[in-house]
Symmetry: D3
Subunit: 250 residues, 6 copies
Amino acid sequence: MRILLINPNTSRAMTAKIAEAARGVAGPDVVIDAVCPATGAAAIESHTDEIAAAAAVVELVAADRDGSHPADAYVIACFGDPGLDAARELVEVPVVGIAEAAMHLAAVSGRHFGVVTTLSRTLGRAHDLVARYGMERACVSLAATGIPVLDLEDTGSEAVSLIERYGAEAAAGGADVIVLGCAGMADLCTELTARLGVPVVDGVAAAVGMASGMVRMGLGTSKRDEYARPPRAFVAATPSPQVTDVGIFA
Amino acid sequence: MRILLINPNTSRAMTAKIAEAARGVAGPDVVIDAVCPATGAAAIESHTDEIAAAAAVVELVAADRDGSHPADAYVIACFGDPGLDAARELVEVPVVGIAEAAMHLAAVSGRHFGVVTTLSRTLGRAHDLVARYGMERACVSLAATGIPVLDLEDTGSEAVSLIERYGAEAAAGGADVIVLGCAGMADLCTELTARLGVPVVDGVAAAVGMASGMVRMGLGTSKRDEYARPPRAFVAATPSPQVTDVGIFA
Amino acid sequence: MRILLINPNTSRAMTAKIAEAARGVAGPDVVIDAVCPATGAAAIESHTDEIAAAAAVVELVAADRDGSHPADAYVIACFGDPGLDAARELVEVPVVGIAEAAMHLAAVSGRHFGVVTTLSRTLGRAHDLVARYGMERACVSLAATGIPVLDLEDTGSEAVSLIERYGAEAAAGGADVIVLGCAGMADLCTELTARLGVPVVDGVAAAVGMASGMVRMGLGTSKRDEYARPPRAFVAATPSPQVTDVGIFA
Amino acid sequence: MRILLINPNTSRAMTAKIAEAARGVAGPDVVIDAVCPATGAAAIESHTDEIAAAAAVVELVAADRDGSHPADAYVIACFGDPGLDAARELVEVPVVGIAEAAMHLAAVSGRHFGVVTTLSRTLGRAHDLVARYGMERACVSLAATGIPVLDLEDTGSEAVSLIERYGAEAAAGGADVIVLGCAGMADLCTELTARLGVPVVDGVAAAVGMASGMVRMGLGTSKRDEYARPPRAFVAATPSPQVTDVGIFA
Amino acid sequence: MRILLINPNTSRAMTAKIAEAARGVAGPDVVIDAVCPATGAAAIESHTDEIAAAAAVVELVAADRDGSHPADAYVIACFGDPGLDAARELVEVPVVGIAEAAMHLAAVSGRHFGVVTTLSRTLGRAHDLVARYGMERACVSLAATGIPVLDLEDTGSEAVSLIERYGAEAAAGGADVIVLGCAGMADLCTELTARLGVPVVDGVAAAVGMASGMVRMGLGTSKRDEYARPPRAFVAATPSPQVTDVGIFA
Amino acid sequence: MRILLINPNTSRAMTAKIAEAARGVAGPDVVIDAVCPATGAAAIESHTDEIAAAAAVVELVAADRDGSHPADAYVIACFGDPGLDAARELVEVPVVGIAEAAMHLAAVSGRHFGVVTTLSRTLGRAHDLVARYGMERACVSLAATGIPVLDLEDTGSEAVSLIERYGAEAAAGGADVIVLGCAGMADLCTELTARLGVPVVDGVAAAVGMASGMVRMGLGTSKRDEYARPPRAFVAATPSPQVTDVGIFA
C-alpha cells in the first residue's frame, strides 16, 4: 500500500520531516511517499496562502494519478485541509486531511479536545473546520501560539515549551486531549505527550492511520454526485496583467 | 462610488450580463465595473473549479488594488463565494459574496427561504455556506435544477420554466422566498418573481445593495487579525511536471 | 424612495437624532422620515417596554399605510426589533429591524462580532435575536454597559468612553466588529470606529442601507402565509379595571 | 394555592372551557381562576394578534397583583406564550406558558413529539418557540390543520377528526407524542388520546401541573437581572391619529 | 397516587433523606415510596457506576411492576438519570429522571441556569444530558464542587458553603437559577435558596412535581416503537471467570 | 498488536463471524481476539438490552485486563456502543465503538451518510449517538429494515436485499455513503458495496482500522478526570427479590 503525503507549502525540509514522522507510525504494509510544490506559498498562514495550497494539492494529486504507480490513498498534510473536496473529486481512493483526521481520532481518545496552532489569524479557518467536521461540542478550545509555521523547522526548545504552555492551559480548561494544529509540529508529538500527561494528536499520524485502515477495508471516496469526476480539469487563472486588460467592462 | 463585480469564470458574455443586472438596481451614486479572468474555469461547477475561481478572485482583486482607481467595494459574482476570505485580507473596503448577500436579504424578506441552483454536485458547497452564514434555520431547501451554468447564457424559456418549477416546489414546501443559486440567473429574477408570486432574490443585486450601503456608512472589512494583510502575496503553484520531478521523497 | 424610521419609544429628541444619523448615510435617492408614539414607553428597557414598543410599531405602520404617501420601506429603530413580524404582516414592502440589519452587515464585515448594549436586563432579548437570526457562531460576545437608554441623549464623553471600554474588551476577546446595541448610539458610530480601530456598526445606518437596496431591487416582504395580511386589525386590550370585573371565573 | 389562567383572547366561552379543563387535572389543593380581556383580539392567529395578546397578559397579571388575593402562579393559556417574559418581570411566583409546558412534558413522555395546531400562518411563531425552548431535536413535526381558533368552540366531530388525521400522520412520521397547539383544544385531549393510541398533551393541563409543582416546592421566577421588576409600568401606545400628527419629522 | 423514588445507589440513609425531601413537596394526593438496591454501587460517580445504577433501576422497576400495588409513576433519583430509557420500556406510566426534571423546571424559572454538582469526572455525563434534553442554550455553566456523593450524608456546613460558593459564581456568570446536581443535595435546597437569592432547583422535588402533574392529567410514557415493551427481560451478564473461559476465539 | 473485539450479546456464532470479518481487514501486525458473555442479552434490541450489554462490556474488559496478555486496544462490536465510556475508565489503551468508528470514517468517505439498521425501536439510541459524535449534519438518514439482529445469522439473500433497498433509498435521498447499523451485518459489506455503487461502511472494520492506527501512533484513552480509573469496581445489582424486601421505605 502506497500513501502519498502532500505538503502544500514549498518547504522540502518540512516535507521530509513529515514523511519521516508518518513512516514512524505506518503499518508494516504501508509505503509513505511525500511531495510538495516547486513554487507556491512558503507557508500556509492566510486565506490567500490557503488558495495557493489548494491549487498545489489539486496539481499534485492530478500529477500522481497520471503517473505509473498512483497512490492507494492521499493525505493532505496541512492543518487547513486545503483542496480536500477538490482532491476527492479526482480520485476513487481515500483522501484524508490532517485536521479532520486529528479531530476524529481526538474525539475517540477523550470527550473534549483543544487545538494548539500557529498564528491567530488562522483560527478563523480552524473554526470553519471544527463546524464542518461536527466538532463544536468536542472541541473546547482553539489557541494560537504565535509561532510562524517556518519557525517550527528549527525545533529548539522554545517552540516546544510554548506549545506545552498552551496545551497545559487547554487541559486545565477542560481538554482531555491536545490536537497539534500544524503539520510542522509532527515531530514534537511524543515529547509533548510526555510533558503534558494527556494524549497529544498529530494529524499526520492520525491521517496515515485512518487512510491505511480505509485502504485495507476497501473504503474509498464516494463518487456519487458531489465527488464525481469534475466537468473540467484545473486551469490556473492567468496572472493579473492580461486579465485586467481583457476583462473590464465600463 | 465604484463597485467592481468579479465573475470568476471566463465567460465574458455572462460577465456583461451580470454587470447589466447590477446596474439596473444600483443607486444613482454607484458605478458598476465588472471583470473576469482571461483563463481559468469556464464555469464554476465543482470543487476543482472553485479553486480556480478563488485564485481568479485573488488575482483580480490584487490587480484592481494596484490600479489607479481601486474600487470602493468588491462583489464576488459566483454563488460559491470563492475566494471571499482571501479577498478580505487584501482590502479594507467591503467584499461581498453573492451567496451571503442573497441569504442575508432573503432572511429579511421572509422567515424561510429555498435555494434553486444549477448542478446537484454543487449542493455540498451550498450546504457549507448555509452553515457558515448561520442560515440552517432560515434555509429550508436546496434544490438543483440540473441546468449547467453555461446553458443559462441562452435564456430560452426552458431554463426559466425549470427554475420556476423548483421554486414553486420550494414554496409549496415552506419557502417564503426563493434564492437564485447562480450569478448566471441574475437576468431572470424579475420574470421569476412575477411567475412565482413570492420574492425572488438575485445575489448580484443583493450584494450590490449591501456593498453600496456599507460604503455609504463607512463600513469596510475588519483588518483585525484574521483579515489583516497576508504575510505573502499569492503565487500560483507551478504546474505538475516540474513539481513531480522536484518534490517526491521516496 | 421614502423610508420611514419608527422609533418605538416616546423620545422626540432621540427620534430626531436617529433621523439625522440615517440621513447622513442614505443614498441620494432616499428620503428619510421618522416617527415616534405620543404615549407609550419612554425607553425600551424591559420585556414590558418591548410590548408597548411592539404595539407602537404596529400602530405607526398602520397609520402610515393609511396615509396618502405610504413609505417604500420601514425601519424599526430599536435594538430589540419589536413588532417586526407584525409589521411585516401589514405591508408588502421591506420592514427591517436595526438589530437584524446590524448583525447581517457585521457578519459581512468580519467573522466574529460583539454587541455592546445598554442595560444587562436586555441581554436576554439580545440572546433571542442572535438565535433567531442565526448568529450564534458569528456573535462572540454580548456586553451591557449599564447605561440607561435615555442617558444616551446627552452624549457626554462618559457614555462614549464606557462603550469604547466594552468594545475594546470585545475586540480583545475575539470580536472583529462591534455592533452598537441601541438606536440611541447612532451618533457615536464614527467616533467609536476611530477610537476602536475595528469596524463599528450602527443598526440604523445598516437598516437604511439594507432597506434601500431592497427597494431598488424590487424585493419586499413575502406575503406567503405567515406574513399575509392578518385576519383582524390590532385592538389594544382594555385597561385592567373593566377586564377584571368581566373576566374572572371562580 | 390559587392559579390564575390567562386567556389572552376575548372569548369568554373559551376561557370557561379552559378553566374547566384545568380544574379536571388540578391537584386537590389547587383553586383555578381564569380571566380574559374585555377588548382585544378575538383570537390569536397572527403576529399582530400576538402583540394584543401580550398586552392583555401584562394588563391582566398587573391587575391581579393589585388585587387582594394575588395568584400563587400564572398560566398563559395561548400556545404562542404571548407576554411570557414580561409577565415574569411583574411577579416572583411562577409564570408558565402552555406551549413551553406542553413541550417540556411531551419531552418526558417520549423522545419525539409533533405539534398539531390551527392556522399555518402561526407556524413561524411555533418554530421560534421550539428553538427558544431547546426542542429542535425533540420536536419532529409542526402541522397546521387549517382550523381557525374560534371554530374550535363548537367542537363538532369535524375538528376532532381533522386533528386526529394530522396527529396520526405525525405519529407515522416518528412522533411518539402529540402536542395540541391551541388552548382551545384542551377539551379534546382525552378523546384524541383514545383515538391516536399515543400520549396527547394539552398545554393547559401541562402548565397547571408544572406550576402547581413549582408552588409546592417553593420555586418561583428568578428576579435576577432580566426578570427583575421593570423600570416602568406598561402604557399602551396612543392610537394612531395623534401619533401621526405629532411624530413625523420631514 | 403512589410515586416510587428509585435511588440507584446502595445508601439507605440517602434513600430515606430523598424520600423525606420528596414528601415535603408532594401534593396531598400523593404517597411517596422509595427503594434502593441491596448491592451495587455505593455512589454513582463514574460511568462504571452508572451502568450498575442503570441495572439497579431496571431491576427495581421490574420488581415493583410485579408487586401487588405498582406505582403510578417512577422517579429516578440520581442526577445522571441512569436507566431512564430502559425504565420507560417497562411501564406505561410516567418515568421522570431528576436531571431532566430539574432542567425543565429551571428553564421555566429563568432564562439561564447553572448546575452545581459533585465530582468533576461526572461532568461529561452532565454534558450529554444537557444536549439530550435540549438545554445547550439554557444551561450556562456546569461546575463541580469536588464533594464526593457520600460526603453529602453528613451535611455539615462545609458542603453547603462549598455549593453556595459555586452557585454564587454561576449566578455572577449569568445563571438566573441554580440546579443541584445530585439527589444527595435535596435537603439543602431551602437553605441554599435563602443564601443565594436566586431560585435553586432540587431535581427530586422537580421530578415529583412533574410526575404527579402527569399522573393527574393521564399522561404516561408513549409505548410507540422505541418505548414499547422490550423483546426480552433484563439478564445480568455472568461474572467474568466463566465468560473468559467460554468466549475467546483465537 | 492484539485487539480484543467485544460482542456484548451471547451469540457465539455472531462473535465468530465478527472476528472473521475483522481479521480480513486488519493489518499484518494485528492479532484479533473476540469474546462474548456467557449469559446476558441474546441480542441488543432495546434500552434494557443495552444495559445488559454495557455490563457485559465492563465485565469482559475488566477480565481481559486481569489476564496475562491484556489487549492493546478494545473494540465494542455493537452499534449502540454500549459501555464505551465505562470501558474507557478501565484502560489506558484505545477503546473504539463500532458506531463511532463507522460514522467517523463515513464522514471522511463522503459528505453525507445514511445508516441502515435493524429494528426501528433502536433508532432513538442511534439518534443519541449521532448527536454525541457531532454527526447531525453528516448523517442525513437513519432507516430501520425491521430485521431482528439474530435473523442476520442465516444470511439468506432476503436480509441483503432488504438492506440494499434501504441503502438505495438513502443514496437516492442524498447519502453518499451507507453505514451498516449492526455488527451482525459485517459480512455483508463487500456484497452491499458492489450492489449499491457507493461506499458501505462496516463499523467492525472501521473500528479495527482506527484502533490499530491509534496503537501504532501511541494514542490511547485520556486518563484526565472523566476517564480516570473509577472510584470502585463494577458490582451487579442484586436481583429483585432481596432488593424489594430490603429497600422500600413506607
